[in-house]
Amino acid sequence: MMTASCEPVRSERVPALVEQFKGGLAAPICLTWEWTYACNLSCTHCLSSSGRRDPAELTTAEMRSVIDELRAMQVFYVNVGGGEPTVRPDFWELLDYAVASQVGVKFSTNGLRLDAERAQRLAATDYVDVQVSLDGASREVNDAVRGHGSYDMALRAMENLAEAGFRDFKISVVMTRHNVPQLDEFAAIAGRFGAQLRITRLRPSGRGADVWNELHPTDQQQREIYSWLVDHGDRVLTGDSFFHLNALGATPLPGLNLCGAGRVVCLIDPIGDVYACPFAIHDAFKAGTVRSPGGFAEVWRSAPLFAELRTGTSSGACRSCSAFSSCQGGCMAAKFFTGLPLDGPDPECVKGHGASALSDSGRSGLPRPDKDHSRRRAVSMGMPSVRVPAKPCDSSPLAVTE
């Protein structure tokens, strides 16, 4: 049994279930769907390198037909993100259409559009959940990553939701070196707003690759996260993202302890491309597109990449490690974007095997995301960009130009 979205299955009989999941499900149970690459912010660690809208974005009609497909496949809910999804002019219309189609929506937002009136309408809509991103429990820590003004914007949105009586909305925190010491403060903020805290792992995906070395938690902090979750795990969501920490103690964190990519998880990006997981926007993990004749269902059922992920058992160097059964070799995307072999240790392997592999592999020639929608220069919207490449090619030889 589990709560909606990508949250861990809490059941005594999980191991047998995990074996079933490895072969893939008839439809995903944890589908992330990014509705736009456009974003008012320029977070330094953005996993989808968002900023500018992609001119090939799915149209309203195409979005509706994907929703129709999800309904037919009995995908009961989706996690909508971006970019900032609410900047799509048809966002609220599509939200209503999904809900009316019995496809529940949890959407992630930086709070941009959540004024008092909108919060009231959301509170009155069944089958919608809201997740507000916050990467620091203080203005200083948050704004260093998410940009000036973003803390106040998020807090204002939370106040509006709480005031409207929206119970148990989510506050979503990506754990970094600077906010691990604030775990208790995050929990206090969630308590103050009647919200639920969700903490997830920083991935070296998208622009996250550029800041991962400086921002990913230290070994000591990984132990702090693990212990904190063991103590507070019942009330805190994790998107099942810390299973690589399981080897730190005898108490396993709740969850599948499984990379769900292509098995129970996948990503539809704003132009309709389907990837194995939200943290792997790269050609190596692209399974197809919803624009092809068979649509999303055909990609999910028949993409060769997914077939491979459903049969493949990663092994390699990790097989002989005593901790393999607890961590399963960790996160595929984290390995890929740090240049590590997929059948080797996770870069944040708690046994230290990742760190030594990283120092061997060097930083040059790392794979880059195949899409970069970062803004070319800072735009003055009261949210100055932290990352200011003069041309897209300055930051990536593979940058997509419009």
Partner: protein, 95 residues
């Protein structure tokens, strides 16, 4: 709030619950509580789908081989606790 599970009564799949066929059995999704359950055997799925046609849970279980009844009784109790199956309207708890 869910009443205690009473195998002497008739139960049925909650109208708020959808069953999605899966290779291992089915996934049950409750639109009200937004929770998922996994029915991990095809004959359990069949049992749950057909539950409403029986006057009591015990009657429904009697169609199964004796060895499986105990396991499935526990599975049904768990599904009742999660509000996935509910007493049939008008079914009495008297024997």
């Amino acid at each position: 709030m869910t009443a205690p599970f009473e195998p002497g009564r008739g139960y049925q799949l909650n109208p708020d619950v959808a069953l999605r066929p899966e290779p291992f059995g089915a996934l049950a999704y409750h639109f009200g509580t937004r929770r998922l359950s996994f029915l991990k055997a095809p004959d359990l799925v069949e049992l749950v789908r057909g539950l409403g046609a029986h006057r009591s849970v015990s009657d429904a279980l009697a169609t199964l081989p004796g060895g499986r009844r105990e396991v499935y009784l526990r599975a049904l109790a768990a599904l009742a606790a999660a509000d996935m199956i509910v007493p049939q309207p008008g079914s009495s708890d008297a024997p």
